[in-house]
Symmetry: C2
Subunit: 410 residues, 2 copies
């Protein structure tokens, strides 16, 4: 016998993060289970976004690059993210998109390991990680090799320049063991590059303790920075002097406003910058990150585990009969803040759920994915969501042509 709604309410009553929900804007009548695709709007962003447009841009104009701190924003926001992922403040900077940042770090990693030609990844990682690795490989004559996750450690060898992994799988929520894989890579002289897009903001990440070399991550999922928020780059202090990359734009120059004829990289993490940052998007991300100030990430991860555990427990009892199978790891320690269910009609089911106010998303070919964000969801939300899934299946509400029609973004 699984938990009742009352039991879920009791769990919420002793949730140490319960008051975080008040810091977000969430629409009425919606249970939002897609914060792993686009995080909800933190209330603080509303005023910050008005301020940067209506005061700093309108009134300050060009002066705001100095006076409103725009120029130092990539470093300042990077330091905030460092605190969330267990890195030092000078190890993270905000710039570009996850894809562009992956490119910089893969190129940088190959140059740090001359003579080694292999970028090693696993099958089923987030596609852009693979696409970028393929772009790098084809343009510089490297090799991009993918193995099954179970075979990864055995596949690392003296040809491996860098092991490039999505830390938490976007489809299943499976967490790679960062410390173990990093140690195995280091034992063979290889580097590690972690895509933290589905980890940062919900897990107790410890990049320093895991001895990670390089990482990237996006700002718009669990960090709640807004649609397409800028991404970030992590380079461990020990690599910052030697690393280089070919996207040598003026914001990564040692003294950009001397307009010197030749490129000289900035010192430290600032060399990872390229062009002028999109300040409206960056300011929103900065304000969004204030939600994390002083937050104990162990508590955040513990609540994520509790929510996903509840979802799986309820699914086992109420959704198996509708043909769903759990596509996420059953071991909570190996699972991020999401619960995924496989179903042959997953696309139409997700559309029907959205129409009922339960917003998850579909991941091809057959996964319904539910992000269970600890900062703004409760155990009761999970209970109610599973109830609505059960009802949508029971009534076959999903079984209409409208819900089967694919949209551009799923």
């Amino acid at each position: 016998m699984t938990k009742t709604r009352d039991a879920c309410q009791a769990l919420d009553a002793r949730d140490p993060l319960a008051d975080m929900r008040a810091r977000f804007v969430l629409p009425e009548g919606v249970i939002y289970l897609d914060g792993n695709s686009l995080g909800a709007l933190p209330k603080a962003v509303v005023n910050r976004s008005r301020q940067i447009v209506e005061q700093e841009w309108a009134e300050g104009l060009i002066r705001s690059w100095n006076d409103a701190g725009w120029y130092t924003a990539p470093t300042r926001v990077g330091a905030k993210i460092a605190g969330i992922i267990g890195a030092e403040s000078g190890e993270v900077i905000v710039t570009d998109s996850t894809s562009v940042d992956l490119f910089k770090l893969l190129m940088g990693a190959l140059a740090l390991r001359p003579g080694r030609k292999t970028i090693l990844g696993v099958q089923g990682d987030f596609p852009t990680d693979a696409y970028i690795a393929q772009g790098v490989a084809s343009f510089v004559g490297a090799e991009f090799e993918r193995v099954a996750a179970d075979d990864l450690i055995a596949a690392i060898d003296e040809k491996t320049a860098v092991v490039c992994l999505t830390h938490v799988n976007y489809k299943t929520g499976f967490i790679h063991d960062m410390a173990k894989i990093t140690a195995a890579a280091h034992a063979k002289g290889a580097l590690t590059l972690w895509d933290l897009s589905h980890s940062a903001g919900v897990l107790d990440l410890q990049l320093g303790r895991a001895d990670a070399d390089l990482a990237v991550g996006c700002g718009y999922k669990y960090l709640n920075g807004g649609p397409g928020a800028p991404a970030y780059v992590f380079v461990a202090k020990r690599h910052q002097t030697a690393i280089g990359h070919p996207l040598t734009g003026w914001f990564g120059h040692k003294v950009p406003f001397e307009f010197a004829p030749d490129y000289v990289p900035a010192e430290g993490i600032a060399k990872m910058l390229t062009g002028t940052p999109p300040m409206l998007s960056l300011a929103a991300l900065e304000a969004a990150l204030d939600v994390f100030a002083g937050l104990d990430m162990r508590k955040v991860q513990a609540k994520a585990s509790s929510l996903t555990e509840l979802f799986i427990e309820l699914s086992d009892e109420r959704l198996t009969r509708h043909g769903f199978t759990v596509a996420s790891p059953r071991n909570a320690a190996a699972r991020g803040a999401q619960a995924s269910l496989a179903h042959p009609e997953a696309y139409a089911v997700v559309q029907a759920l959205i129409a009922r106010g339960v917003i998850g998303d579909f991941r091809a070919p057959d996964v319904a994915r539910f992000g269970l964000v600890p900062l703004y969801l409760s155990h009761v939300d999970v209970f109610d969501a599973v109830g609505i899934i059960d009802d949508v299946m029971e009534t076959e509400a999903w079984n209409t042509p409208a819900f089967r029609t694919r949209k551009a973004v799923t």
Copy 2:
């Protein structure tokens, strides 16, 4: 004898663009002559910025990628820019920063001209153009060669893969002859790549008529898209099938939301995309571009010429005695929408002017740069600005330690 203030008022009275100023927010007591660094805020952006945060993100959440047209924004905004630069609508897309886009196109150009190893530029172009060319050259074994502008055409030869130029020089406003240089490059089998950052939005650009191959440009200067607004890429239709680049992220994939394991480029200009676009910044740019709807760019360029001509005429009469020399071309047809003055104390002078409400900027080592944006400046503004420069020099108001102290962003 130069023009009086009354004569300037008469010019403004018959200015066909006079009513455009009402579409911008400009602070009281300021003559803003730095729209070539950060364009002023178009009024339409205020509501659009609130709408995307407070409605589309807050209420629509992930659904807005489909329902609010976020997903198609890079193409849609690209088509708007195409109309401003004399290109076809499927030839321009908005993505990343100017620096990142330059990288993509330089890599693409080298691959389109196999066997040719030279990227040819001119001395004194905007630094990030050179820095990126150096990054490309050092990572792929190409060569980046810079010659004096006068020697450019003679320097194009069978080793030249691409001629990469800032169309309008950021410091002097000098305009390269796009059609002539393109023809010379094509005669030798080379491509042209134009950085339009200081051209688009103030000149009657005709990329199609000039037979240009490739171009990039930033969104935050004369296009008024806001601080660090996304940049754009132009690829002439005839190159779109063959061109490739190594920044092969998921937004440039043929079917991103199939999450296929291997990269397949999108058809047409969409293959130039890489990561998820920063939507808050992109939405501001889109709203800003509505200012240009239906605008005759010949009238815009004519007014720019009239403003810079007036500035130079007044400078000759009133500022030469203070040690200023005109650093912009005296031939209006070879000059963008800026007038630059060289002065050994240019840095402190610019600071003193900012304190008096005349906002220009400094470009190392000795240039005071004044952007004379036709959409929101009048001839009277120019007259008054020169008067204030005259006064600041006459009273030596610039000669204080505070005004000599360099800021991070100049």
